[in-house]
């Protein structure tokens, strides 16, 4: 993990900005109780901590409830068209690498209509941060199933239950060779803030999936991970270098039996030293973690991981594009328009 500059914005003799300085003058128009409010608040709180001048921050969104997000941020912002935000962000970042570019997207926007742009951004590794608000439903179009909706889900467009097998965003990201994937949820704002800070710190395309509750069309979709009674049994918080422990009183852990993860009870037979130790740099283990995708409404399933699955940097696309430009100038000199106009062969008519 690279450590970025620790200077905060507002340090040039100016008072440090606060979260509210990043709120625009527009009225926020999500449904009362929508998980988006928490995410907005945490993003606004995070901004002053980034060490990036306010005018160098841009939020790009597609279409959907989540994609209204840029209107509420007092930064540069674009509310674009459905699914295309990663491509717009790519053009912006390649030409303006000094900007901090954030993509705000939803499960329909990024995994259905914009699926192509998401996977290509991940493999190219453009240095952008993608916050994917996953509510497993189409909200803005009023309640159709989404590409992350569970099989069998009854929605407006699936009265007899959805036949679609859902995407697993973590496995998709790892499959697309993402350098960074993390998961957080709206109902755990402190953890969300930490994970979004990590998303920003990662140089390269960083995908942060945020479980977000749609109070109107899919209320309680993630309750199994947020409910006080059950969450310790279903949610597994990942920490780099720490064993995978969860459960009431931290009494359970994940052990690797060869390549197969299994839940073990800590006590007489197994201790923490037998457990899988989380390693954010291990691609294979990240893939295994991405397969922790069982329906936790049932008992005795692998818990759902939250936190940073994978964080390994490789050269970013925007950086390499600009290195090629520098190399071309170094090799051939600044372009001479008259030479280009004349080309290699000319003749004179008198």
């Amino acid at each position: 993990m690279s450590v970025k500059t620790t200077s905060k914005n507002g340090t040039n003799g100016q008072p440090k900005l606060k979260g509210k300085d990043f709120a625009s003058d527009q009225d926020v128009r999500w449904c009362p109780g929508c998980g988006d409010y928490t995410i907005l608040k945490q993003v606004q709180n995070l901004m002053p901590e980034l060490g990036v001048p306010k005018e160098n921050i841009a939020f790009i969104a597609g279409i959907g409830c989540s994609s209204r997000f840029p209107y509420y941020m007092d930064t540069f912002g674009m509310h674009s068209i459905h699914g295309r935000a990663p491509a717009i962000a790519t053009g912006l970042k390649v030409t303006r690498p000094e900007l901090s570019v954030w993509v705000i997207t939803g499960d329909g926007d990024s995994l259905s209509i914009g699926g192509n742009h998401l996977i290509h951004a991940l493999r190219r590794n453009v240095d952008i941060n993608i916050l994917l608000f996953n509510n497993e439903i189409y909200g803005l179009t009023k309640g159709q199933y989404s590409p992350t909706s569970k099989e069998g889900m009854v929605t407006k467009s699936t009265p007899m239950g959805s036949l679609d097998h859902p995407f697993n965003p973590a496995a998709l990201a790892i499959g697309a060779d993402a350098g960074f994937f993390a998961r957080a949820m709206d109902r755990d704002p402190k953890h969300l803030n930490d994970i979004m800070a990590r998303t920003h710190e990662h140089k390269g395309t960083a995908l942060c999936e945020i479980y977000q509750n749609c109070i109107v069309f899919n209320d309680g979709a993630f309750e199994v991970y947020t409910d006080k009674q059950r969450r310790s049994e279903t949610a597994l918080y990942l920490e780099h270098g720490k064993p995978l422990v969860f459960g009431n009183d931290s009494d359970k852990g994940i052990r690797l039996d060869g390549m197969r993860p299994e839940v073990v009870k800590l006590g007489d037979e197994f201790s923490e030293s037998d457990l899988w130790v989380h390693d954010e740099k291990d691609h294979f283990k990240a893939y295994l973690l991405s397969r922790f995708f069982e329906d936790n409404r049932h008992e005795d399933r692998l818990p759902r991981p939250f936190g940073v699955f994978y964080d390994v940097e490789r050269p970013t696309y925007d950086e390499m594009v600009n290195l090629q430009v520098e190399a071309a100038v170094k090799k051939m000199g600044k372009g001479n328009l008259d030479e280009l106009l004349a080309g290699s062969e000319t003749w004179v008519v008198r």
């Binding site: 625009s24 527009q26 001048p53 306010k54 005018e55 160098n56 841009a58 790009i60 840029p70 209107y71 941020m73 007092d74 930064t75 540069f76 912002g77 674009m78 509310h79 674009s80 068209i81 295309r84 491509a87 717009i88 962000a89 790519t90 053009g91 912006l92 970042k93 390649v94 030409t95 303006r96 000094e98 900007l99 192509n116 742009h117 290509h120 594009v321 090629q324 430009v325 071309a328 100038v329 090799k331 051939m332 000199g333 600044k334 372009g335 328009l337 008259d338 280009l340 106009l341 004349a342 080309g343 062969e345 000319t346 003749w347 004179v348 008519v349 008198r350």
Partner: protein
């Protein structure tokens, strides 16, 4: 025996052979040499649709036509005087282009039994004998044998020797047209500078072909085409796609903005990507996106960031981009959209030309989405019109569609190129940085042309949001107010229409300023119409030609040009698209169409007939 040299005013040669025979190289070398000899010229390659069609078949034939003369040349020629064929399939595919009494120069050993079979000639056919009895002149050359003989001592493997066949043929043609070998020798030596033995073999074959022309008694005459009366100056040869690339580089320099091309490969537009990707030291970045939509949206992202955004495609790709183009229109960001049109609809005929995306360009988006449309008239004009497209996009903060087509994109002509210092500056207007206690920033505040200022990220105090939702006048905030939407729709249309105050007036290209008949063209039909009108005027029929290069908006004086003629003829390589725009905007005039949708340019003779018929209306 001394051979008579005959003077010709103009000549058209068509080179045809298998894809692997090097006909494009042969044609382009003949072109360069001809240009250096001072002729005016126009060329057109004719590629097979498949990359590697089966060898020896008609589908695999690649052609290159050049029309050159001591007079002004506007088209690659309707038909050819000389047809060079490397095999039977090439003859079969191209005999229809040869004028009555024209000469065929045939590589005889491309006419073996197997070649005839592959070209689907019948077992009884002997096409070479047959063409001779049809009144064509025939020169038989045993190119393979002669090339091999000339390179007997080269020590090269037979495969490399046979690859010099096209140079032998070129040598023969150079002799026939009394051309200098040196430009091609220089080219070959440069091209194969790392393989001197290959360079030397090619030069030997070229010289052997030239000597063979003189030593044999195959030819009863040679030809000479004197230099043309061309405006003095320094010239180069250029294709439309090359000119577009250079024009974009010029616009980059003259605007002081970086250029970002987001694109996805498609025939016949890909050469623009190839060309720009080599110009990284000209403040140009190119991005081969995952699809057409990412191509245009990445360009919009770059435009948001302060670069000139460019995307290039052809009709089917433009269709995929339309939602994003409307977004750019709504955001009011500078975007140049290049459409190198091809024959449609759907996949259509990708390597063939057509002008059938005009209505798509002008109207093909959801909602009221006015944008500017310009169309180059010739290969060299692609330079000026892409520069103009960039200027309009940057100075008026609007997407501009540039409608080239496969014909001028690949066709070439001599170009008296400008000096960088003589190109006009493109003036970009930015919003200035603000302090916290300054008045609120209004991203959609407009000047007298209705143009907003470019507010680029990184500029202090300009934080603002833009989007595809309808916006309130001035503030840019989301608005569903009915009257505001009406007002904004009219503002965006008026802003586009105001561009008419910043473009040149419509001119008459050829013929009288007023009179009986006016031929109105747009795009790549320029050369054919100009040649036809010129020819008719020479033969006593008075006709005029005007060519519309600015289509949306039209030049302000267009109606006054129309009003000076009795009959207006609108020839188009589509089923009547410009004519619809004209009938809509100028209902006071009657427009007559002339439409051919064959995938190839108008022949001058068919246009002459159409104009003559129209003159009797």
């Amino acid at each position: 025996m001394s051979v008579r040299i005959q003077e010709k005013e103009d000549v058209t040669i068509r080179f045809a052979g298998d894809s692997g025979d090097g006909m494009q190289l042969t044609g382009s070398q003949f072109t360069n040499t001809t240009a250096l000899a001072g002729n005016d010229l126009s060329t057109l390659p004719d590629f097979p649709a498949e990359i590697r069609a089966p060898q020896g078949t008609v589908a695999g034939v690649s052609g290159f036509q050049i029309h050159f003369g001591s007079k002004a040349i506007h088209t690659p020629g309707d038909s050819c005087d000389v047809l060079v064929v490397m095999n039977a399939a090439a003859l079969k595919a191209n005999l229809k282009y040869l004028k009555a009494g024209g000469i065929i120069i045939a590589n005889e050993d491309g006419f073996g039994k197997r070649d005839l079979n592959l070209a689907k000639y019948g077992p009884e056919d002997n096409p070479l004998d047959q063409v001779q009895t049809s009144g064509f002149g025939l020169i038989r050359l045993d190119v393979t044998k002669l090339t091999r003989a000339s390179l007997e001592d080269s020590g090269l493997p037979p495969k490399d020797v046979d690859r010099c066949k096209n140079m032998f043929v070129l040598g023969v043609i150079y002799w026939l047209f009394s051309r200098d070998l040196q430009p091609t020798i220089t080219f070959v030596e440069k091209k194969f500078s790392k393989k001197p033995e290959i360079a030397s073999a090619n030069v030997t074959a070229l010289k052997a072909g030239y000597a063979y022309g003189g030593a044999t008694e195959l030819f009863s005459e040679r030809y000479s085409v004197q230099a043309a009366q061309i405006e003095p100056g320094t010239y180069r040869n250029i294709t439309g796609n090359e000119a577009a690339v250079i024009g974009l580089a010029a616009a980059t320099e003259k605007s002081g903005r970086d250029l970002f091309l987001g694109t996805y490969p498609i025939t016949p537009a890909s050469d623009i990507l190839h060309g720009l990707s080599k110009l990284k030291n000209y403040n140009i970045r190119t991005f081969q996106a995952e699809d057409e939509i990412a191509a245009v949206t990445s360009a919009i992202g770059a435009a948001f960031g302060g670069s000139l955004g460019v995307t290039s495609s052809s009709g089917p790709g433009i269709a995929l981009k339309t939602e994003a183009i409307a977004l750019a229109m709504m955001l009011e960001l500078p975007l140049v959209i290049i459409n190198v049109q091809r024959a449609g609809p759907s996949t259509g005929m990708p390597t063939k030309t057509e002008q059938s995306d005009l209505l798509q360009a002008v109207y093909g988006r959801a909602g009221e989405s006015p944008l500017a449309v310009v169309a180059p008239a010739s290969p060299a004009d692609c330079f000026e019109m892409i520069f103009e497209a960039s200027r309009i996009a940057l100075e008026h903060m609007i997407p501009v569609m540039f409608l080239s087509d496969g014909y001028i994109a690949n066709g070439a002509e001599p170009w008296k190129f400008p000096k960088a210092e003589d190109l006009k500056e493109i003036k970009v207007s930015f919003a200035e940085p603000r302090e916290a206690d300054d008045e609120a920033f209004l991203p959609y505040l407009r000047d007298e042309r209705l143009v907003r200022k470019w507010a680029v990220p990184g500029t202090k105090g300009l934080e603002h949001r833009i989007g595809g939702l309808e916006k309130e006048d001035k503030t840019g905030n989301i608005s569903y107010d009915p009257d505001n939407h009406h007002k904004m729709t009219l503002i965006r249309a008026q802003k586009r229409d105001n561009i008419a105050n910043f473009i040149p007036e419509q001119q008459i290209e050829e013929g009288p300023e007023s009179g009986k008949i006016l031929v109105v063209g747009w795009g790549s039909t320029f050369g054919s119409i100009k040649a036809a009108v010129h020819e008719l005027n020479r033969s006593g029929l008075s006709a005029a030609h005007t060519h519309i290069r600015y289509i949306s908006p039209f030049p302000k004086n267009l109606a006054s040009v129309f009003s000076r003629f009795e009959v207006i003829l609108v020839p188009e390589i589509n089923n009547g698209q410009l004519i619809k725009l004209l009938r809509d905007q100028f209902p006071e005039f009657t427009f007559h169409g002339y439409n051919r949708i064959t995938g190839v340019p108008f022949s001058v003779s068919s246009l002459c007939d159409a104009i003559e018929r129209a003159s009797k209306f």
